[in-house]
Amino acid sequence: MASRYRKALDEFGAMLGVGWDTERSARLAGWLQNRDPRCKAVAALALLITVALVRSPATLAVLYAFCLFVTATSRLSVTRLMRRAWIAAAVFTGLIALPAVLNVFTPGPTAVQLPFGWAVTTTGLTTAARLLLRALTSLHVLWLVVYTTPWNRVLAALGSLGAPAPAVVTLGITHRYAFLLTRMAGEMMASRSARTVGHIDGARNRAQITNAAGTLLLHSHHSASAVHGAMIARGFTGRFRSLEPFRATWRDVVLVLLALALSFAAWSIDRHAF
């Protein structure tokens, strides 16, 4: 049981898509890696708004395919990013999307008849596909930015685009501690295993996990305060700065225009054709 939790924690840490992995991929010589982070942020924002506005799964699928194409041109592993996005989307939207296919939640024409009067409806399938594709495409857009930009430059770009300093600082500290906390949770689990013989019944197991979660919460508060102190000591006043200055070229402008054009086209087609 404990090893299953540990594996889940490791996978969660990897799924967060942060850390050295992203720093390494951000330094590859891909098309998106060479773009100005501010322009990438603007382009991503345009796409995210569009993903939230369009309703047709077909339009969302086209946007998702575009993201996969950009992934390939940026020397990132399409299959790895797809796998991570599917896992995350399944975890976070599967719980909502799966029941939505049933006639009890989404009435409509029957696609597949199930026992006891239950059925999968075409309307339900469309709703579930929309939810899933929205989650997949949104995650992929965000990861394209994170995987192709050194993290400090992401934060600096958000700051220079006028994102509120507390939000950027929170993002920075969350990024830093997501990995440490998952590692700490894994170590707590290992420590428990080392002192456990035999089977622990469900109630005790749940109580121990709840206690561990509480300890982690307290520790994360302490760690966040300590790391904020370390940042203050080195002159942090709420604004992240990047070692390399931002420099936008015509290619960066093309990226923004391309994202805006695609967003507008997707929104228009979705509005009139579906």
């Binding site: 850390g19 993290w151 440490l180």
Partner: protein, 273 residues
């Protein structure tokens, strides 16, 4: 000829009470003149780390007054950008937990953080390269700090503060958990810093290395008061005092194959009596 410059730090009757009501420091007074190498000694919980946080301007005394470079070091004074920037440039802490100190995704960005915030950003890249080279960690430039070994983390933490060329280093247990080679490298770095006129305040339990790091020591008692402020030589020579303040220990020892247990002292110069 005595200098008219104010001391780096002047503490007068400072006290500190934690949010849970526990007293951390009680009526502590001392001066830290420029170029001093001061060790803060004391048992666990005696307030050494708290005192370092106060000197770092990250916490503030509950009672008494604390001055840095002749100016009051208070929450209000640090709200002034000019004073805050000047203070942070001059005084840099190295925390006990390197994982707390290192918060950037790569070593290079970690070391660049200070110069980008406090220095001239156009000179940051060259200063970072120099600091990494100085601590022999250039090869770690693109690594994530949290994936480094303990010794590497500590070297990067030192590089991240030395890059700012501070006048004062505040070190909290800097040698804990390091292998001999890492200890040697950090002692060399401290010696270079001190030889260049830098001031060091170090909280430590490490009596065997005390002479290498400090020439003066303040011993804090377990109730957070100053028990003694004297030269390192004087304090190390007074074994009963060290034992009474939980800085030296007597414990049982097994000799060879004999089942022979008796109280045994560990000396602080690497010898065993």
């Amino acid at each position: 000829m005595p200098s008219n410059d104010p001391p780096i730090f002047r503490a007068r009757d400072i006290g500190f009470v934690y949010p849970d009501g526990t007293t951390g420091l009680n009526g502590v007074s001392f001066d830290v003149p420029k170029g001093d190498r001061l060790a803060l000694l004391g048992a666990n919980g005696s307030g050494k780390s708290t005192l370092l946080r106060l000197l770092s301007g990250l916490s503030f005394p509950t009672t008494g007054t604390l001055e840095a470079f002749g100016e009051p070091l208070t929450e209000k004074s640090l709200e002034d950008d000019a004073f805050s920037t000047a203070f942070r440039r001059r005084v840099q802490p190295v925390f006990q937990d390197a994982d707390t100190q290192l918060f950037s995704p790569t070593v290079e960005e970690e070391v660049a953080f200070g110069p980008l915030q406090l220095g001239d950003p156009s000179r940051a890249a060259s200063a970072v390269a120099e600091a990494l080279e100085g601590m022999s960690v250039s090869h770690l430039r693109e690594r994530a700090p949290y994936r480094l070994s303990g010794g590497e983390k500590r070297k990067v933490a030192f590089a991240a503060v030395l890059v700012l060329n501070p006048e004062v280093l505040l070190l909290d247990e800097p040698m804990t958990g390091l292998d001999p080679r890492s200890v040697g490298a950090l002692l060399d770095a401290l010696d270079d810093f001190s030889s260049g006129g830098g001031t060091i305040v170090v909280a430590t339990h490490d009596l065997p290395l005390l002479k290498e790091m400090a020439n003066r020591a303040i011993v804090l008692s377990e109730d957070g008061r100053v028990a003694r402020d004297a030269s390192v030589d004087d304090i190390l020579a007074d074994r009963p005092f060290l034992e009474s303040h939980n800085l030296a220990h007597i414990h049982r020892h097994h000799h060879g194959g004999e089942i022979h247990t008796h109280p045994h002292e560990h000396g602080w110069e690497g010898t065993m009596s």
